[in-house]
């Protein structure tokens, strides 16, 4: 243990604790800015400097370890003085257009301003950057607002392993982004939006689609259908000051109806459908692998629900695309069904249908622009808005979210199982698939407490599990005794590790779930801020609560899904499914 004194009080902390953490553990808050717990501690903004007695200069508390006998002052005259000047320097190179900034009132620079209380600008001067890059369908980079905290650099490099966001040039001309003339929309950016999630100011934002959605809502000639992804209900509440992990499924459905959407569907319905299709595809691949001599089976099969992950794969491993499940992501399936099955059923001209997806994801905005996501010249989904954008629309419409009575999803694309709920968290798709696959193969329920596969839950980067097939049904007798090996990862750095194994021929797995964002969709790039592991855990628990609270826990038992196959699709992997629910991938360049 280390003894140190902070602001004249003596404390003991464990060796290796930073001054910042030592203070925090003892309820002393040191104003800070670029710091992100466990993720980004580089001491670049210098807001968190403190005075250490005997030191020639002040120390950045977030990176300086506490040492024995250290005497620290976090609020001395000098500390408060320089903090003010540093904050002023930050502002001197930042536009003062707060009222028209989309981060107004939700901006960490404003929060810092509330702490620091600056009443005059002494240092006015040059602005270093003015590039606005809106070439990407998902993310807008407004460099004029960038404060160079480098959080996006850390997540893009250290966590996602994409390595696109980096500092360029030097000195005052330093800017963060892709290299000089490279546009986000033409780069290897996966659109995951993790950078958007951590940006403290308005420099990185989702490309706003609310205007297009409002326009559709006001267009009397259009039937506007909305669907919501599993993870949205576990986080939307945070926009309205609910505790993280509060489920607001009913209020969300009610708010969507109030906003004027004609039909409110649940992407979860399509998650169940995905399990039917993807589970069948997996069984088909496994059957080929175990019963035919030809080497045309490609295992492991990898999930394809996460468009950020898909684009990463297309750039980084263009020769391994056959490992990807051919299933479209759930909201794309639902979009395609809305404009066919639903349109037919309701006798609506599909061209007059406008489908909006509410997603925890910025990459979905890119996904809907892919040419494969059009059927008969019509986009499967017309607009994607993130959880944050939906929050803004609800506020904009003057809806008092907290006092809403719970509403319901509409039929026939609204009913879903608990297996669909857990799509929203890392490990969920795998568990949902195995609930169905195991039962199809053995005729018995997936073993495990409450149908969960414990090793696949939680926030670890790479999770693995083995499932032994015992006494299968006669049709699958060739699988008797086979141990099915699965792996789950979230975040693209883990994905690259698993893909390297596949590339080297050393992957032991049959089935892999990959989600582009750490933790899965619950902390997708379109979710409310802030996101940290504590909040991830609360959202994750909410998702499992939603699952466990349902009587219907398995996708193949969803009666509306059964009806869909009976009335429209036929069988999983059938002709109609291939036409509407499956897709192909594109080889993309590595840089």
């Amino acid at each position: 243990m280390i003894n140190l004194t902070i602001n004249n009080k003596k404390f003991q902390v464990e060796e290796g604790t930073t001054i910042f953490d030592a203070a925090k553990l003892n309820n002393i808050l040191i104003p800070h800015f670029c710091y992100m717990e466990n993720v980004h501690q580089i001491g670049s903004c210098r807001i968190c400097v403190v005075e250490v007695e005997g030191g020639k200069t002040l120390m950045a508390s977030c990176v300086t370890p506490a040492t024995e006998g250290m005497v620290v002052h976090t609020n001395s005259e000098r500390v408060r003085d320089v903090r003010k000047v540093i904050f002023e320097l930050m502002l001197s190179d930042h536009p003062k257009e707060c009222l028209s900034c989309w981060r107004n009132q939700n901006c960490e620079l404003q929060d810092l301003g509330n702490l620091i209380q600056l009443h005059e600008f002494r240092y006015e001067g040059a602005k270093s950057k003015d590039v606005v890059d809106s070439s990407s369908p998902s993310i807008v980079r407004d460099s004029s607002k960038c404060i160079l905290c480098r959080r996006c650099v850390t997540v893009c490099n250290e966590i996602q392993g994409v390595g696109l966001m980096n500092p360029h040039h030097r000195g005052f001309s330093t800017f963060i982004g892709p290299s000089e003339d490279e546009l986000l929309g033409e780069s290897v950016c996966t659109n995951c939006g993790q950078c958007v999630l951590v940006c403290p100011v308005g420099a990185l934002k989702e490309k706003d689609s609310t205007a297009a959605v409002w326009e559709a809502l006001y267009d009397k000639s259009k039937t506007v259908v909305v669907q919501t992804a599993p993870a949205v209900r576990a986080a939307l509440g945070e926009v309205f000051a609910y505790e993280p992990g509060t489920l607001v499924t009913g209020k969300m459905a009610a708010a969507l109806h109030q906003l004027g959407f004609d039909y409110v569907f649940d992407t979860n319905f399509a998650a169940d459908l995905t399990i039917m299709e993807e589970g069948s595809e997996f069984l088909e691949r496994v059957t080929n692998a175990f019963t035919t001599k030809e080497k045309d089976h490609v295992l492991p099969m990898i999930t394809s629900c996460s468009p950020g992950w898909i684009k990463f794969m297309e750039h980084r491993y263009p020769d391994q695309l056959a490992h990807l499940s051919s299933c479209k992501s759930p909201h794309m399936m639902l979009g395609a069904l809305t404009k066919t099955y639903f349109a037919e059923k309701m006798n609506i001209n599909p061209a007059k249908l406008y489908v909006v997806s509410v997603m925890p994801c910025t990459a979905k905005k890119f996904e809907i622009t892919r040419p494969e996501m059009f059927s008969n010249g019509l986009a499967d989904v017309d607009a994607v808005i993130t959880t944050r954008e939906l929050g803004r629309m609800i506020k904009d419409a003057g809806i008092d979210f907290r006092s809403l009575e719970d509403g319901e999803f509409d039929s026939p694309l609204g009913l879903s199982s608990g297996a669909a709920d857990i799509f929203g968290t890392t490990g969920g798709v795998m568990e949902a698939a195995l609930r169905t696959v195991h039962e199809l193969v053995t005729g018995r329920e997936l073993p495990g407490i409450k149908l969960h596969i414990k090793p696949l839950t939680g926030l670890s980067r790479i999770k693995t599990a083995e499932l032994k097939i015992e006494n299968p049904l006669p049709a699958y007798s060739f699988l008797n005794g086979v141990i099915v090996k699965v792996a789950v990862t979230s975040g693209l750095k883990g994905a690259a590790e698993l893909l390297e194994q596949i590339k080297n021929g050393t992957s032991p797995y049959h089935f892999i779930e990959i989600m582009g964002c750490p933790g899965g969709c619950i902390s997708g790039g379109g979710q409310p801020r802030p996101v940290n592991d504590a909040i991830r855990t609360m959202r994750l628990e909410a998702i499992y609560r939603e699952d466990e609270g349902k009587l219907l826990r398995k996708s193949h038992e969803n009666v509306d899904i059964q009806m869909l196959y009976r009335d429209f699709l036929g069988v999983p992997l059938g002709h109609k499914s291939h036409e509407l629910l499956h897709t192909v991938y594109t080889q993309r360049s590595k840089n």
């Binding site: 210098r46 320089v82 002494r122 001067g125 001309s173």
Partner: protein, 395 residues
Amino acid sequence: MSTPIYQLKRVDFIFKDEKDWKEILKNSINRPAHELINELISSELKGRGGAGFPTGLKWKLAAEVDDPIKYVICNADEGEPGTFKDREILSKVPLKVLTSMAVCGHVIGSKEGYIYLRGEYFFLQPELNKSIGEFKDYCNEINFDFTIKIFMGSGAYICGEETALFESMEGKRGEPRNKPPFPSTFGYLGKPTVINNVETLAHCYTIFEYGSKRFYDLGVQYSRGSKLFSVSGDTPKPGIYELELGMSLVDFVDEFGDGDTKAVQVGGASGFLVPRKGFRETTIGFQGKLTGISLPTGGSMMLFNSSRSMYNVLDNYLEFFREESCGQCTPCRVGCQQLLNGIKAVKRGEKNAQYLNKLMRLTETMQYTAKCGLGQSVANSFSAIVENFREEMIY
């Protein structure tokens, strides 16, 4: 302040021939590590790059770390405006530097050394590589395992900062790291590393050759030995001179000035500017309790005579820092630019003279909060120029 006791004394160690290098190498690597460390410690040699960290202690710290892989790096990224001595050392007596690197390898337990050569010094590379080849041949001959390679810098001033230099060598963007950890435990590739300036290594050779006493006897308390000075500016005899440390600036100006010196910039753009009235009380060396105002320097001594506009001098420095800041920490990245804007605004009359005081507070913030020496040192020249040549700043 104290009257200078020591007159200007020329010394000739560094550029003295290096013909005995084989013998010195052989003798040194046959001495136990602790003995060599003690030799350096008792010489009181301090780092000649400008920061003045005791060299013996630096070697000792790295020697004490238990790791099979360690590195010796010679910092030849000589980028401080007004310094050009390392270039001369590397072209005239490269084997001295190589020898000391190898002895350091012996002391700390390292088999690999690198010379981080300033990008603009590419022309030194062929000759230096020849010396390295000759050196390697001899090492093989005496069965001593130490390899030296050149790593070319790419022109960024900040890469002379030791941790930024490591980053650069690792193929990353050259930016200073947080300290601690220090290079002796976590340097190049995260391994224990000794990084010494070219001149420091050349002095080590002198100490190995003549013993610590010869070195210690030169200079004054806290500032032992001699030092190379790169003399430039308004002087009839620009060049490189080896002088004893502890000299008074007034003696220096008497020797090198043109009779009209109004200020001397000691230690390059990041160093200290001394106006005429301060010459008498200033000595050149490392800070110590007894030495009064004593200014360390990496060797750059720039003289300005009365024809020079100190506004232009400062403008030039700030332009330099604005561009050479690595761009990582706020105080340095934005501060340098706003200082530049600030003095221009005062000069143009857009801001009143009092604004200079606000700018002084800004430099003070940079001094206390910038991540590395670059940002911290901007205050030195700024405050000296603004305080002593205020009129030139305004009109």
